[in-house]
Amino acid sequence: MSSILLIEQALNGLQFGVMLFLMAAGLTLIFGVMGLINLAHGSLFMIGAFAAATVAAATGSFLLALAASLAAAAVAGVIVEVVVIRRLYDRDHLDQVLATFALILIFSEGTRWVFGSFPLFLDRPDWLSGSVMLPFGIRYSLYRLAIILVGLAVAAALFLMISRTRIGIQIRAGENDREMIGALGVNISLLYTLVFALGAALAGFAGALIGAIQSVQVGMGEPVLILAFVVIVIGGIGSIKGAFIGSILVGMTDTLGRSLLPALFGLFMDPAAATSVGASLASMSIYILMAGVLLFRPKGLFGGT
């Protein structure tokens, strides 16, 4: 494999990772602050994509579509938080898993009820189509490059928000000691709703960005959800930094695994078998990575001791 292809694959892995981060950041924030495990996070991803597709079809503007995805997912997040999630904070994880599993059923089938059973159309805007030349003669999709940059910008903004702003201080306080923020006079209920809405908006935003180069369909959030869980478990639940490192690790492992493993097996097996075995192993690679990390650090890379 040529080095140019390898660099391109690494970029692809980075892009995949950055996208996963948008999902994982919300999940990990929600867990860190509220102690809630939210399986319905994938549904918010889906809602973002559907909102974007609808608005894009009506207005033709990609930026409006992105704004709609943020808004729709945040609103859905607020509604879900107020109606359901709020009652789950002091429950055990089992109740949370089950209730949010029920939410997935409702969201998925409800979306199908409203939008029908066929995938929707959502495309990248013309001004982001085509590819660009990067140094060393690497040709790369402009849209994917944009996703990487936007994702990194969002990550940076999140770090800044958490380390510098008032709400960030409250979030950090909430992660350390839930009773303390009450004592500080913070409106906990409002803070929780805000954090949930923020997480939801990030997921919806990711859904819209990815929806433009994927199929916008019911159930699109589930594979991403499971990957995002793998990410935050690897990174350490509750840690934004962990979510970032975990995302990049998972993105790289998955992408490079898919492209390198079959070639690797090809060195000592016949090509058809190598393709199949390599692909099988590649599809399991991130789970193996996760098991490996937990073996040595049962609380993830940045999950404390």
Binding site: A99, F101, V233, L294
Partner: protein, 327 residues
């Protein structure tokens, strides 16, 4: 008699009488439906041991359900095609004998549960939930791409396996087998919950420090419970595959894990017969809601949500009240 005891016996009585009635009324499909409920109940009884008694929230029990299914599928497949499974270092032939298949399913599931549990139990809480999910996904993707045994298409066996002295293709006889197995498993779990091990496992769930101060190691208690739990769910998987005469990677899917969990919670966590009530209720819901609307998942979701939010303790909690400490 306590209300929970009454509920227990009515449930078992219902599961005895209903198929009998269906048989008399010549409604074989209702028997099949009841068989499904009973098999799901066995899977739930298995999970309940880890989840209810040990407090281990496994989101990966589909792994054992699937392993049991594939134990059956692979053995029967080899028996039907007359191709031995191994020829080296010694010959292992397939089989269509249910008891042998069950033992294999139990052994394989227990072995995998030992490995998976040994790793997963190093973690706890959400990490445990997620790592068990991840292990099940690993097997799911493996099963999909394992073309020797059908991959995603799964494996069909055309006739049910054999049980000495019974015609397993007759719905009521196959039901009888499953029902008896359910009773045996319930009895076993009932005794276990009251045994030395059960008492200490429950203590570990409530307070690990206490168990350590008594000279016991919670990890070992958990691992043992996880292995037994996996083995029972594996047995249910073998029965389920025999019911459908078919096995596929869907049995490994994470939705399956979720469903087994639903049986346990719908019925009542930590009650010996909770999963039985839960599975029966689930089948009933699936069957009646499916006719209402194409979008019946919405209603199923809403009902589930209602149970979690407002009816803690599931069906048992609703009817029999808070669990009474037993001695």
């Amino acid at each position: 008699m306590r209300r929970e005891t009454i509920l227990n016996f009515s449930l078992l009585g219902l599961l005895f009488l209903f198929p009998l009635w269906a048989w008399v009324a010549d409604e074989p499909f209702l028997i099949t439906l009841a068989t499904r409920a009973v098999i799901f109940a066995i899977a739930g009884v298995g999970l309940n041991l880890a989840l209810g008694f040990g407090g281990l929230v496994s989101f990966g029990h589909a792994l054992f359900f699937g392993l049991g299914g594939y134990a059956m599928g692979i053995l029967a497949h080899h028996a039907q095609t007359y191709v031995p499974m191994f020829t080296w270092p010694f010959v292992i032939e397939g089989t269509t004998s249910m008891p042998i298949i069950w033992l294999t399913a139990i052994a394989v599931s227990a072995l995998v549960a030992l490995g998976v549990g040994a790793l997963s139990l190093r973690t706890s809480g959400v990490y445990f939930i997620m790592i068990t999910l991840a292990f099940a996904q690993m097997f799911y993707y493996f099963a999909i791409s394992w073309s020797a045994y059908g991959g995603e298409d799964g494996l069909s066996i055309y006739v049910r396996n054999e049980f000495p002295g019974l015609n397993t293709m007759d719905p009521i006889q196959f039901y009888a087998i499953c029902y008896v197995i359910l009773l045996v498993m319930l009895f076993f779990v009932f005794r276990l919950s009251r045994s030395s091990f059960g008492l200490m496992l429950g203590a570990a769930r409530q307070n690990e420090d206490r168990v350590q101060a008594l000279g016991q190691v919670p990890y070992r208690m958990y691992l043992t419970a996880f292995v037994i739990s996996g083995a029972i769910t594996g047995l249910a998987g073998a029965l389920f595959a025999d019911l459908n005469r078919f096995v596929s990677p869907v049995m490994f899917d994470w939705h399956t894990s979720g469903e087994i969990m639903i049986f346990v919670i719908l019925g009542g966590v930590g009650r010996v017969l909770g999963p039985v009530a839960g599975a029966a209720l689930f089948i009933l819901l699936e069957h009646s809601l499916g006719g209402v609307s194409d979008y019946w998942h919405i209603y199923l979701g809403a009902i589930l949500l209602g149970v979690v939010l407002f009816a803690r303790g599931g069906l048992f909690g609703l009817i029999a009240g808070r669990e009474v400490a037993h001695d």
